[in-house]
Amino acid sequence: MYKVKVYITLRESVLDPQGSAVKQALHSMEFKSVEDVRVGKYMELTLPSSVENVEAAVEEMCHRLLANPVIEDYRYEIEESVAQ
């Protein structure tokens, strides 16, 4: 089995109003030292070991659907685990 962890974040150049709102809330909790917050998405995909070119497949999934490359960056980790 492959377990794929996908992390999607707004690109640095794109304003993140959700992150700003969370930062303000942290400040009002007295965590005033927080300088910046960026809110993103985390996804876990499970694929069978039989999938060929798993990296290319995940790359295409991210590029075409999971992230919008106009405003978002993505990265992923592919872990292979042996069935018990």
Partner: protein, 228 residues
Amino acid sequence: MKFAVIVFPGSNCDIDMYHAIKDEIGEEVEYVWHDADTLENYDAILLPGGFSYGDYLRSGAIARFSNVMKEVVKAAEQGKPVLGVCNGFQILLETGLLPGAMRRNDSLKFICKTVPLTVENNETMFTNGYVKNEVIQIPIAHGEGNYFCDEETMSNLKENNQIVFTYSDENPNGSVENIAGITNVAGNVLGMMPHPERAMDTLLGSEDGKKLFQSIVKHWREKYVVNA
């Protein structure tokens, strides 16, 4: 002239769109489900507002892979008018028929009110009934209407006169250059966040949306009927 209103799971402005065409404009219109295989029988395609697929992942991201979208792309390539309103605009961006992407409103609030728009380009098949720089009253209702594109795309939009509507007074959502609606380079695909189909009768606040649909019909008649 025959219009198609594409219905996705979660569309909720489809009935308004249907009503606008059938009852206010008086043209033929049919609902077309998202898994349809062809749009050959229609002269214009309307992608209504709403929350296709629950806005899961991103607005419009999942609808883009609906079966009917291959046919919408084909219709766009054939030069048929394709109008996407609100979620329909978001779907056109995700599909790549229009450039750029949509972000959450910079206020993080869902905004529902009538706003003044400036008609920046009245030489499109969607706006030939308006006067250039005319200010019209059209309602908006969205949480993700903050249009974004990079600088290169922006200069292309300007160069090709693709910016059709801008917000006149305040910018309600933070969109770049106050953009409310853009076309593709060919001019037959229009995406806009405001809802012209909700501005069809003064009884409900404004009828300034009528001219948009009348423009489509006028363009189509001149192209296909007058010369027939």
